[in-house]
Amino acid sequence: MTTANHRSDTPGSAGQHRTPGKLAPQDASEAASRHRRIREAMAAQGLDGLLAFGPGWRRENVRYLTDTALAGSAAFALLPAQGEPSAFSTRWQDTGSIIRHGWITDAHFIDAREPAALADRLREMAPRRLGIAHYELLPAVLMESVSGAVPGAEVVSATALMDGVRLAKSDWEIDRMRRTAEVCAAGWQAFVGALEPGLPEYGIVAAVEEEIKRLGAEDNFMLIASGGDEVRGMTAPSPRSLERGDMVRTELTPQLDGYWLQLCRSAVVGKASDAQRRSFDLFNEAVEAGMAAVRPGVTAHDVAAAENDVFRRHGYGEYCTSQYTRVRGHGHGLHFDETPVIEGNETVLPENAVLIIHPNTYTPIAGYHVLGDPVRVTKEGPEVLISTERRLFESAEGT
């Protein structure tokens, strides 16, 4: 019955463990739609196989095909040009989860150093041109196994292909993102509710994590900074204790059912100063300008330029450069940092793309300021996906 440091697709645990879940009609339709879209993109690039690789920190493409939360350090989903997809993970529990969820019914445990089931499936498939999503991240030990299994095939990156496929969200996906938005809004409430003089930054993160996990969040991307006008950017939390008058900035990005959604806000411990209010007004104007530019067919550059023009008009244009900031927003979905909203990015935003518009940067007015809302691109313009008010928050404690 027992094995020692040995994991496998043990026959003894097969049977019901491998009983596929029955997909609801809307899920079956979504899965079929995804397969069709990916295969159209594959055909355009002459691919007869798409292998999505998911390392521990970039599982979005595997999730797109499995709709399953995975824990393995390395996971794959393989979609042939024709036929049924397969999935593979270095965590045996993942294979049961995938099969029970039902989007892929052929799932296997693999040893990262000898992924036999993956190699066998590739050999059987014998693609002439294989695209690998996150090819750039595939460890050498796995690359060797993949390449060795398809010695005659041309192996290319399919990372951009999958980024393109995932850019416009379906109604099914938007529904999920709306639920994430509710969790995100609750997380922000917990954030503001926790603020009080003496609390260390990491204590704020603990309060937020407690709340969003209570509501079912799987994960969270969260940067933070506290202090006055000396603050130049956000990082992981420090032991710094909050002081009265501090502005506390965050980008809060919970993940629920696979989908991330971000909110950018700043809050003051106690009453805001005039400078902090002026800073908010400037950033709010930039958010509004970015939103005004949003409609299907515009580029990420167009949105970024609209935001930056506000800073330029007010004499703060230099603070829109890489010396002070990174991007003016970015796409959202199964990855929280999809196409960047930045001047020079000519990616066209289609209807139903989801992005956050956040002109976060440093200015001498009140230091680094964080403000932004997630929006869906519609023909009528942007639809704000979150209910959190866009204002400079003040904590009840510290007044």
Partner: protein
């Protein structure tokens, strides 16, 4: 993303110890005639870089370039705007950012003139990056190396052990609280997040999964400073079913059997008697993983059944059961491996039981 506390405290790890860690690597490099060692990390597995510098790759990727003599340089895709923070919380002063790690390496190292660069743990590097670096270093011999830094991390120093003990106590208390009366699985995870992050854990990975008979398996991994702790607990009363107690007894047996030189097979044998009450058709895995490999749960390391445990190392011993109905359950503890027994860091009672069973021997 790692979003817990990152702190560099000389009262915890002295400046001398940080220098020694680097010196050990540099001596190994000298023995292999390596002029510059390159250590890769991404947010999901960057413990080698953290061990050498206390740098936290909280997101994205980076490479630590370690010269045969002198100070290391950190190359990263993260923005230069985080350099001040990184200097504050690490031993590194030279940080360079850019969109291409290959170009950053090429710019740093320049023409080789017959020198040798070593890619540490080359099998685990992104193949494309490794090739890009090799191609971008004219005049350099680029050699693939094994896990030189990981080997150092296998046995914690006394200072690291102090932190691991502290972290284990916090994690055990949190897991115990979460396994108690809670309204649902999400509430259990929420408790763990609050307790561990509130106590300054850098990273928390907590999962709750339904097991048979109303039992919930809680798997809790946490990184305190740079060391990993893990415990898996079974929550719920199980309506009088016997298998949860059997699994608890089994992990007690496995922990009692652990010592320097013990291997997975021995742990499995010790666990087996208690597991005989599990339903027919249940598959069980008994395994151990060094805490140094816990960022990936040991999935990138070859843990064979006859691999012996190392004196002074800290390991996670776990038992995973897969029931015929497809559900699974787990129990696990983090232990310190001594010469003739193990000390259970996440459940001191198991150590006491083990000591009593072995006639009161103390040897760790």
């Amino acid at each position: 993303m790692k979003r817990g506390l990152v702190v560099l405290d000389p009262a915890e790890i002295s400046g001398r110890e940080w220098q020694q860690r680097l010196a050990v690597l540099q001596r190994a490099m000298a023995a292999s005639r390596i002029d510059t060692a390159l250590v890769y990390g991404d947010v999901s597995r960057a413990d080698d870089i953290a061990y050498l510098t206390n740098l936290c790759v909280y997101w994205n990727e980076g490479i630590l370039a370690v010269p045969a003599q002198g100070d290391p340089v950190f190359l990263t895709k993260l923005s230069p705007r985080v350099h001040p923070w990184m200097r504050q919380v690490s031993t590194v002063t030279d940080l360079r950012s850019g969109p291409s790690l290959g170009k950053l390496v090429a710019d740093l190292l320049g023409p080789g003139n017959g020198r040798t660069a070593g890619i540490v743990d080359a099998d685990l590097w992104p193949a494309v990056l490794s090739e890009e670096i090799s191609a971008g270093l004219p005049g350099w011999e680029v050699r693939k190396l094994g896990g030189l830094v990981r080997e150092q991390r296998v046995t914690p120093s006394p200072a690291e052990l102090v932190l691991l003990r502290r972290g284990a106590g916090i994690l055990a208390a949190a897991a115990g609280k979460a396994a108690g009366e809670q309204p649902d699985a999400n509430a259990r995870i929420a408790v763990i997040e609050r307790e561990l992050r509130g106590a300054g854990f850098l990273d928390v990975v907590a999962r709750a999964a339904d097991a048979p008979d109303g039992i919930v398996t809680l798997r809790v991994s946490g990184q305190f400073r740079t060391g990993w702790l893990h415990a898996s607990r079974l929550a719920g009363d199980g309506n009088g079913t016997s298998w949860p107690d059997a699994m608890r007894q089994a992990i007690g047996g496995a922990v009692t059997a652990a010592s320097a030189g013990a291997c997975g097979e021995r742990l499995s044998e010790a666990a087996r008697p208690a597991l005989s009450v599990l339903p027919p058709g249940t598959a069980v895995d008994v395994r151990w993983v060094n805490q140094a490999d816990m960022a990936t749960s040991g999935e990138y390391q070859p843990y064979s059944p006859d691999l012996p445990m190392t004196q002074g190392s800290v390991a996670v011993i776990g038992i995973e059961a897969r029931f015929p109905d497809g559900a699974d359950a787990a129990v696990a503890e983090t232990v310190l491996i001594g010469t003739d027994r193990a000390e259970c860091l996440t459940d001191p009672m198991l150590t006491a039981i083990g000591t009593a069973a072995s006639g009161g021997r103390a040897g760790s």
